[in-house]
Symmetry: C2
């Protein structure tokens, strides 16, 4: 099954990559860009057909290794 | 206006970050994960209220700096 995980930096946590991109865009003349945030999307192909088991496995992987629980939130969606 | 850009590596291009994550997950016992791909989502806040102008600005930013046209595809969505 295909699983889509979106990992977002918490709003109160600074995003240095986003800030760097905003400056690069301004240097190229795109001063109208006021804010940039960069998130990650991780697509997993997981063997099995038990949707609920796969969803809980993916949540465990996020807590263990995919997301940083101090800085980031995550959402798991089983696409089927 | 808020713009959401999803940047995906083309399917035929290797994803070393995804491969590394797959190995790390296998080491933790998640051998059922067969494939991992990592994409980026960039959220932009852009000043202005002309939806179509903002969409074309965001496409230009992707071509100029946000995406690597050799390795990646992108999609732009103006959220409003």
């Amino acid at each position: 099954m295909r699983v889509r995980i979106e990992i977002t930096r918490r709003p109160e946590i600074a995003d240095p990559q986003g800030t760097t991109i905003r400056r690069a865009l301004a240097d190229l003349g795109h001063e109208q860009v006021e804010r940039v945030r960069v998130d990650r999307v991780i697509h997993l192909d997981i063997a099995g057909d038990d949707r609920s088991a796969i969803e809980s496995q993916a949540n465990e992987m996020c807590r263990q290794v995919l997301a940083n629980p101090v800085l980031e939130d995550f959402s798991v969606e089983v696409l089927g």
